[in-house]
């Protein structure tokens, strides 16, 4: 069989091979404590939180997050403007070399917009995280109810 479009074939082959060295770098990033906040019935949106550790020697950026449970995933942060909380989409969330970035309530978070089903406590939500080097990470985030009981050990009542 002949290849009439040899340059094209080469280009495709190169594209397929390209992510291989990138995959090696992927292990520099580890994600811990990922969870999705359970929201009241009928709420169309929720947020995912996690800590991203970067053991590598170069900075990484989280550029996209998606989940099959939501029609859209966006990266957001909050700006506390003299007491007014302004939520804004951000193009990327940076993780410094040998550093970590926390996605947490009131700060950076992955917005999951237009939920396709209501999430129950104990459910697991798959998330696909894409980084600026083209690498991706598939993680599972547990659905957690916002804490409504005081944590023990603060002199508060235990339940």
């Amino acid at each position: 069989m002949r290849f009439p479009h040899r340059p094209l074939v080469l280009a495709i082959a190169a594209t397929i091979a390209l992510p291989l060295p990138i995959l090696a770098g992927e292990s520099e990033l580890t994600i811990v404590d990922a969870y999705v906040r359970m929201v009241p019935p009928g709420s169309p949106n929720t947020a995912a939180f996690m800590t991203i550790n970067n053991s590598g020697s170069s900075k990484h950026k989280l550029v996209q997050a998606e989940s099959p449970v939501a029609r859209r995933g966006e990266l957001h942060t909050h700006i506390n403007d003299r007491g007014v909380m302004r939520m804004r989409q951000v193009p990327a969330i940076e993780i410094d070399a040998a550093g970590q970035t926390q996605l947490k309530p009131g700060g950076y978070h992955v917005m999951l917009l237009d939920l396709q089903a209501s999430l129950k406590e104990g459910d697991t939500v798959p998330l696909t995280l894409r980084f600026d080097d083209g690498s991706t990470k598939e993680i599972d985030a547990a659905v957690k109810k916002p804490q409504t009981v005081m944590p023990a050990g603060d002199g508060a009542m235990k339940h």
Binding site: R37, G42, P44, G83, V84, P146, Q147, M150, A156, H159
Partner: protein
């Protein structure tokens, strides 16, 4: 050598300041009517007074006056709020859960929607108890909500909708504490901890009847 450079630097800065002052200083002319009005308004901008209001609750009108004799916590937000409101309401819920049962009976928490177009009283009834059964959600007409927000110094601003017609609302995220006499006693900042809330509540709790 170092001292000399420092001295020169200082001289440069001071001369620059002098030039700025000479160049831009304009002695105030006679005030115009409009500037007087504006300055007068700003000068008299008192801290928010709080005060009574009536809004729509899950079973009809709810008035702040209904809760005389109790400490009332008020939080302004909206149910489509993706992060800030759930975070704040969870903190308030934790505070309520951390109170003794006898204290909790003398405390009421209210969630007032700044997005009344989407947040009906019925929707709020689904939303608020998710955080704590004692949390009551209130809605009203946009005008009523604006009035109550102004009374308490809460601010909010609807943002431009996205392609799907969804919008977010920027809003202040304070928790207002109203004492048993109905007076705005304290404004707690965004992300006040349950411990801070409990301490503030206990400072204002009325004594238990019959003791």
């Amino acid at each position: 050598m170092k001292n000399r450079a420092l001295l020169i630097g200082l001289l440069v800065v001071l001369s620059a300041m002098l030039i700025l002052v000479i160049g831009f200083w304009e002695p105030q002319g006679p005030p115009t009517a409009s500037s007087v009005g504006q300055q007068g308004r700003l000068a008299t901008a008192a801290p928010p007074a709080g005060g009574d209001f009536t809004l729509q609750g899950p079973r009809g009108p709810v008035a702040l006056a209904d809760y005389r004799g109790r400490v009332v916590l008020i939080y302004f937000g909206y149910t489509y709020c993706p992060d800030v409101c759930p975070t704040s309401l969870a903190l308030i819920a934790q505070a309520l859960s951390g109170l003794q049962a006898s204290e909790r009976q003398r405390v009421q928490a209210l969630f007032i929607s700044v997005d009344p177009q989407r947040d009906s009283a019925a929707r709020l009834q689904e939303y608020a108890p998710f955080f704590h059964p004692a949390l009551v959600g209130l809605s009203g007409t946009p005008r009523e909500i604006a009035g109550v927000a102004a009374q308490y110094g809460a601010s909010y601003q609807l943002q431009a909708p996205n392609a799907q017609g969804q919008y977010t609302v920027d809003h202040s995220s304070a928790t207002y504490l109203i004492d048993p006499q109905g007076k705005l006693a304290l404004t707690l900042p965004h992300a006040a901890s349950p411990e801070q809330l409990i301490a503030a509540i206990r400072r204002h709790l009325p004594p238990i009847d019959g003791r």
